[in-house]
Amino acid sequence: LVNDGNGSGEADVTIGIVYSTGGLGDESFNDMANAGVEQAVSEFDIAYEDAEPEEVGDMNEMQRQFARQEDIDLVCCIGFDHQTDLEQNAAEFSDQQFMIVDSTVDADNVISYVFREHEGSFLVGQLAGMLTEIEYAHGGGESNPDESVVGFVGGRESSLIERFEAGYIAGAEHAVEGIDVQRAYAGSFNDSSTGQEIANGMYNDGADVVYHSAGNTGGGVFESAQSNGRFAIGVDDDQSISSESFSDVIVASMVKRVDNAVYESIQSVVEDSFEGGTTNDLGLEEEGVAAVIGQDFEGELPEDVTSSLEESRQQIIDGEIDVPTTTDDS
C-alpha cells in the first residue's frame, strides 16, 4: 500500500518494505520495523510501500516486485526468512539497494543488520532471576522468594529464538546458581491461547517471571501473568508501551531496535551514504539491544537489582561475560 509522507504526491525517495510472516500487529518485531519507517516518513520527504507475506513462500515474489519497480530506492526485508531469497535477488537486481534484518547477506547492494539478542536476553534473564529470589510486589504482580523458578516461552524452534533462550538462561544462572528455568515452545507464533497455558503452567510451578520470544503467542503470556498476579518480560519492543493494557505486569522488555536499523538504512539512502556490503552487528554496546524497564516499573525496582544489571551490561560490553548463543551447554 502506498503511504505518502506528506500527502504531497511526489516524494524524492520511495521505500519498499516486506515484513515477516508474523504480520503487522505482533506488537513487537514487525511493528518495530514499521515504527522505523514511520519515523523516517515523518522526518524526510519519503513514501513507502509495504507488503505482508502470508507464507514464507510469498517473500521471494514480494521482494522481486519491489526490486523491479524503478521508483523504489530501497527494499527493506524484515526477518531472517528473507535471507535465501535475498541472496538470489540481490545478485539478480544488482542495481537495487536492499537491507535485511536478522540475517547477513553479503552482496554489495545489501546492508545487513543482525542483533546479539542473547546479550539483551542475558540481562532480562538476570533480572528475572533476581526478582524470583526476593520478595517483590509492584503493579499487578508479586514474587515469591521461596521458589527460584523462571520461565521462557518460545514461538517455533529456530536458532534465532534459541539465542534468546540461551542468553536468558545464562542470565538467570548468573543471578542464581542452579535456578530452575522452565522453557517451552508453543509451536506457533500465532497461538496466543497455547502461550497463555504454557505460562499458566510455569506460574503454577512457582515461576515469578516469564520471558517470551513468541510474537503474537506472547500476548497469552501477558494475559496469564496478569491473571496469575505474576510478572512477564516482553521482547523486541518496549511492550509495556505497545501492549499498554499489560504494563502493570511487564516488568521489562528485551528491546531490539529494529526500528533504528530500518530508520538508519533509510537515512543512509536519503543522504546518499548507503554502504552496501556492510553488516551491522548490533549488541548492547551499539545499543542495538537493551533491557528496558517497563514504564510502570521505572524507578520502582530495588536499587541493587538495577545496579547489578548495569554492572553485567558493562561486563558484557567489556567482554568479561561471554554470553552463549545456544542452549547446548545448559
Binding site: 500500500l1 502506498v2 503511504n3 505518502d4 500527502g7 510472516t21 510501500e49 507488503a51 505482508e52 502470508e54 507464507e55 514464507v56 513462500g57 510469498d58 521471494n60 515474489e61 514480494m62 522481486r64 516486485q65 519491489f66 523491479r68 531472517f80 526468512d81 535471507q83 535465501t84 541472496e87 538470489q88 539478480e92 536478522d102 540475517s103 517455533r156 524452534e157 529456530s158 536458532s159 534465532l160
Partner: protein, 396 residues
C-alpha cells in the same frame, strides 16, 4: 461408513457426470457469482477500512476506500501486465495444474483426496533432498539437468505416492473415510517435514527452517528472464492432463479404477480387486501431488522452506471448478493462477488484503458444490427448465 461411501461417490459422480454443457454453465455461473460477491465484500469493507485516498463518498455511510472494478483490473494488470508477471502467473498455473490433476484423479475414481497438500509438502522435501544429494555427482550442464530433474520428479512422485497410499489402504481395508484421514495426514506431513528440515536435513547455517538452495542443474530452465517459469514444466502438466483423460475414458484400468471407487460391490462383481484399485487411485493421486511439490522446488522456490503455499487446497477448487475434467483443469488452473499472482498486486498497490483471494476461492467452491442452486435460478428465469430431479440421493 460404506453407506456414506456409496452416496458420496454418487454425489461426486454427479458432479463429474452432469452434461458437459450444463457443467460448463454451472462453473461459469459459480465463478461470476463468487466474483460479484467478492466485489460486494471489497466495496463494503472499503467503508470500514481507513485510507488516505478514498474512492467514493456516500453521505451518511462515509468514505469507501476500494473500487471493486479497480481491484479486479489491478489483479489482471498484476497478472498479465508485464512478461515477468505473466511468467509468475504461468508458474502458479503450472503448479495448480498438477495439484488440480492430483485431486481430479481421485475424484474421478470416486475418492475425495483432501490430502494433496500434505503429499505435495513431503514430495517437495523428497525432491529437494534428492537433487541436493545428486547435484555434486553430475556435470553442471544440460546433461546434468536431464539426469537430475527427472530424478527429482521421481523422488517427489514416490514419496507423494506413498503418502497418498496410506489413506488409500485405510479406506480399502479398514473402511476409514478418506476425507477424515487425508485431513489428518496433512497436519502430520507438515509437522514431519518441519521436523526433518529443522533437525536433520536442513541448512544449519540458516536461522530459518529450510534446506540449502538446490544446484543450478536441478532448476528448470527459465523461459522468461526475471521469472522462473518454465515451459517444460507447463508442457509436462498438459501432457499429464491428456494422459489422465485417456486413462479414464479409453482404458480398462481406468474403467476399473473408477468403478472400484464409485461402487465397490459392483467392481467385485465385474471381477476386479476393488481394494487394490482404491489404493492404486489414491497412490496415483498422491504421486501427482508429489510431482506438484517437485515442480514447486525445482521451478518456484529452488529449495524447501517451511510455509509452503496452500497449492494443495487450491487444487481442490481448481479441480471442482473444472468438474474434475482433466482438460477442464487447464483453464481453471490458469484462472486461479491469475487470482494468486494478481493478489500480490492488489495488496501492494491498493492495500487490499491478499486473503480476499482465499475468500473468493472459498466462494467458488461453495457455489460449485450446489449445482441445484443454479438449476433453480435457471428454472425461475425460464431457460434450462425442467431437468428431471434425478439427484440420486432421494431415490425411493
Amino acid at each position: 461408513m460404506s453407506g456414506l461411501r456409496d452416496r458420496l461417490a454418487g454425489t461426486l459422480d454427479r458432479l463429474v457426470d452432469a452434461s458437459p454443457l450444463e457443467r460448463l454453465l454451472i462453473s461459469v455461473a459459480s465463478l461470476v457469482f463468487a466474483l460479484v460477491l467478492g466485489a460486494v465484500l471489497i466495496f463494503v469493507s472499503g467503508f470500514v477500512a481507513t485510507c488516505n485516498s478514498p474512492v467514493v463518498f456516500i453521505p451518511g455511510v462515509g468514505y469507501g476506500c476500494y473500487n471493486p472494478i479497480e481491484v479486479y483490473s489491478t489483479m489482471l494488470q498484476g497478472a498479465f501486465g508485464s512478461p515477468i508477471s505473466l511468467g509468475q502467473t504461468l508458474q502458479e498455473t503450472t503448479l495448480l495444474l498438477f495439484t488440480g490433476l492430483s485431486v481430479a484423479v481421485a475424484f474421478r475414481a470416486g475418492l475425495f483426496n483432501i490430502g494433496t497438500q500434505g503429499q505435495m509438502v513431503l514430495g517437495a522435501l523428497a525432491t529437494a533432498v534428492t537433487v541436493l544429494w545428486l547435484g555434486p555427482f553430475v556435470p553442471n550442464n544440460a546433461i546434468g539437468t536431464i539426469v537430475v530433474i527427472p530424478a527429482g520428479i521421481a523422488a517427489g512422485a514416490v514419496v507423494g505416492g506413498f503418502w497418498g497410499m496410506i489413506p488409500g489402504v485405510m479406506k480399502a481395508y479398514a473402511d476409514a473415510h478418506e476425507v477424515i484421514t487425508t485431513i489428518m495426514l496433512n497436519f502430520i506431513a507438515t509437522a514431519i517435514a518441519f521436523y526433518l528440515v529443522n533437525n536433520h536435513v536442513g541448512d544449519p547455517s540458516s536461522d530459518s527452517v529450510l534446506t540449502e538452495t538446490i544446484p543450478a542443474v536441478a532448476q528448470f530452465p527459465a523461459a522468461i528472464d526475471g521469472s522462473r517459469f518454465s515451459f517444460f514444466a507447463l508442457g509436462a502438466g498438459l501432457l499429464v492432463a491428456i494422459g489422465i483423460t485417456l486413462l479414464y475414458t479409453q482404458t480398462v484400468i481406468g474403467y476399473e479404477l473408477r468403478t472400484s471407487g464409485i461402487q465397490e460391490t459392483a467392481a467385485e462383481y465385474s471381477g476386479v480387486n476393488a481394494e487394490r484399485n482404491i489404493v492404486t487411485s489414491m497412490t496415483l493421486s498422491g504421486a501427482l501431488g508429489g510431482v506438484a511439490g517437485a515442480m514447486y522446488v525445482m521451478m518456484a522456490q529452488y529449495r524447501w522452506q517451511t510455509g509452503i503455499p496452500s497449492l494443495g487446497f487450491d487444487g481442490i477448487a481448481v479441480s471442482i471448478l473444472a468438474g474434475n475434467n482433466p482438460i477442464g483443469i487447464i483453464p481453471t488452473s490458469l484462472l486461479f493462477g491469475t487470482l494468486k499472482s494478481g493478489s500480490l498486486a492488489i495488496n501492494l498497490s491498493l492495500g487490499v488484503p491478499t486473503e480476499l483471494v482465499e475468500v473468493i476461492q472459498g466462494l467458488i467452491i461453495l457455489f460449485i458444490a450446489m449445482p441445484e442452486f443454479f438449476r433453480l435460478i435457471g428454472k425461475r428465469s425460464g431457460f434450462g427448465s425442467d431437468t428431471p430431479a434425478t439427484s440420486g440421493g432421494e431415490q425411493a
